[in-house]
């Protein structure tokens, strides 16, 4: 058997040129600017309770996930890989991390309640 370790990956058609790279850059920059501005101003109206935390925190998390999507799908090119590969990488993350977060945060809140009794 010959050594295949230096064979390149099969070519996947992505967008041509470099315009798409700068487009993703401006999106990431704009989202970060919005996050920082909201973090400094902390608008009173967004501090109301929502899904167990403040509405502002929910907005931060949604914006963070949007940034993560652009980095992974475009910069890391995962969005242009084969479907089976996309799911092999994302499915464990999508299942395990929310589960771990839910379990640990619930437990942490409960530990706090016990400690303050």
């Amino acid at each position: 058997m010959s050594d295949h370790s230096n064979n390149p990956s099969e070519h996947h058609d992505g967008p041509e040129g470099t315009a798409w790279i700068w487009k993703v850059f401006w999106i990431l920059l704009a989202v970060t600017t919005v996050e920082v501005a909201l973090g400094i101003i902390k608008p009173e109206i967004l501090l109301s309770q929502f899904l167990g935390t403040s509405l502002l925190n929910v907005i931060f998390i949604v914006l963070t996930l949007a940034k993560a999507y652009y980095i992974v799908a475009e910069f890391m090119h995962l969005g242009h890989e084969r479907k089976n590969f996309i799911w092999t990488i994302t499915l464990p993350i999508v299942i395990l991390i929310p589960y771990l977060t839910f379990v640990l945060l619930t437990e942490g809140g409960y530990m706090g309640v016990l400690m303050n009794q």
């Binding site: 295949h4 230096n6 099969e10 920082v36 400094i40 640990l104 706090g112």
Partner: protein, 307 residues
């Protein structure tokens, strides 16, 4: 038989190697699997911090009161410096994509230029992180640790909980920019006795202020804390400092190893290794690692500094 021959041919096509079931080369696929496991490691750290933050909600510092400095600027500028660090990392991610893009076109000079800039960006980020650590370790205004290990701040009565720096209490003048004078607990106790309008307040969300009588009583067993280490933290719960050092330190280690990998590949590019090989996929593989470092920072930024 014709059927048997066809079967044999198929078997060797399937098991003879050289096929890419995922359409990705061995190296690239393994880099992805490594990043998958690394993502789980980082989420373990961040959710562990979440657990303790939920447990000690009252004494957990608010990051915007902790990281308030910006080089050369006087006063408090929360979030500004981390925003700059984020910008540097995003920009170095962009130069990395441009390097990969140039590699696809076998544009040797393009790869050299953009990879070189990526390495510069990596060093800038590491320098910024060192600056951030330096200020966190040296501290800002100083705090008082009570007998039950709670951290409280000095404040003047009627100043709506505005933190009075230890420097200002002891010397009577406003703390100069970038000052890191160390005081003893005795200095603070005697200055506190003289300034009868000074009291103590709790940090965090509640910000309860003590009366002067309570503060005098609390001061009998007080200990001055300046800055943060793994054992004490002037900004609040010591676990915040532990997680700060651990998570940003682990991320910084990733950035550092990313820079080292980039330099190794950069040298290979300069020597023409990939020109000879006919493709620049190695640049793409370290590129994946470099973007991952950026990706982790996006989450560290949110869960340490914003939320």
């Amino acid at each position: 038989m014709a059927n048997g021959a066809a079967l044999e041919q198929n078997t060797s096509a399937l098991w003879g190697g050289g096929r890419q079931p995922f359409g990705a080369s061995y190296g690239k696929m393994m880099m992805w699997f490594f990043l998958l496991s690394d993502a789980l490691t980082f989420s373990g750290f961040l959710t562990a911090m979440g657990l303790y933050r939920f447990k000690y909600e009252e004494t957990w510092p608010i990051a915007e009161n902790v990281f308030t400095h910006f080089p050369m600027l006087h006063g408090e500028h929360p979030l500004l410096f981390v925003a700059l660090m984020t910008f540097i990392l995003i920009l170095s991610s962009v130069t990395m994509v441009l390097a990969v893009n140039a590699g696809h076109k076998n544009n040797h000079n393009g790869v050299v230029l953009w990879m070189g800039l990526t390495i510069v960006g990596g060093f800038m980020f590491l320098g910024s992180q060192a600056w951030e650590w330096y200020h966190f370790i040296n501290g800002d205004k100083g705090a008082i640790q009570l007998e039950n290990n709670a951290i409280v701040y000095l404040t003047k009565a009627g100043s709506e909980g505005k933190i009075l720096s230890v420097y200002e209490l002891v010397t009577g003048v406003e703390k100069p920019h970038g000052d890191h004078t160390e005081f003893s607990t005795g200095d603070v106790v005697s200055a506190f006795g003289l300034n009868t309008d000074v009291t103590l307040r709790y940090p965090g969300k509640a910000e309860t202020t003590m009366t002067r009588e309570e503060a005098v009583k609390a001061f009998q067993t007080a200990k001055l804390i300046q800055g943060a280490s793994l054992r004490e933290n002037e900004y609040g719960n010591v676990l915040f400092a532990d997680f700060f050092f651990f998570v940003t330190g682990f991320h910084g280690t990733h950035v550092f190893s990313g820079v080292v990998l980039n330099i190794i590949i950069f040298i290979n590019v300069l020597m023409g290794t990939y020109k000879q090989r006919g493709h620049y996929e190695m640049v793409e593989k370290v590129g994946l690692y470099w973007h991952f470092v950026d990706l982790v920072w996006v989450f560290v930024f949110t869960f340490f500094y914003l939320v």
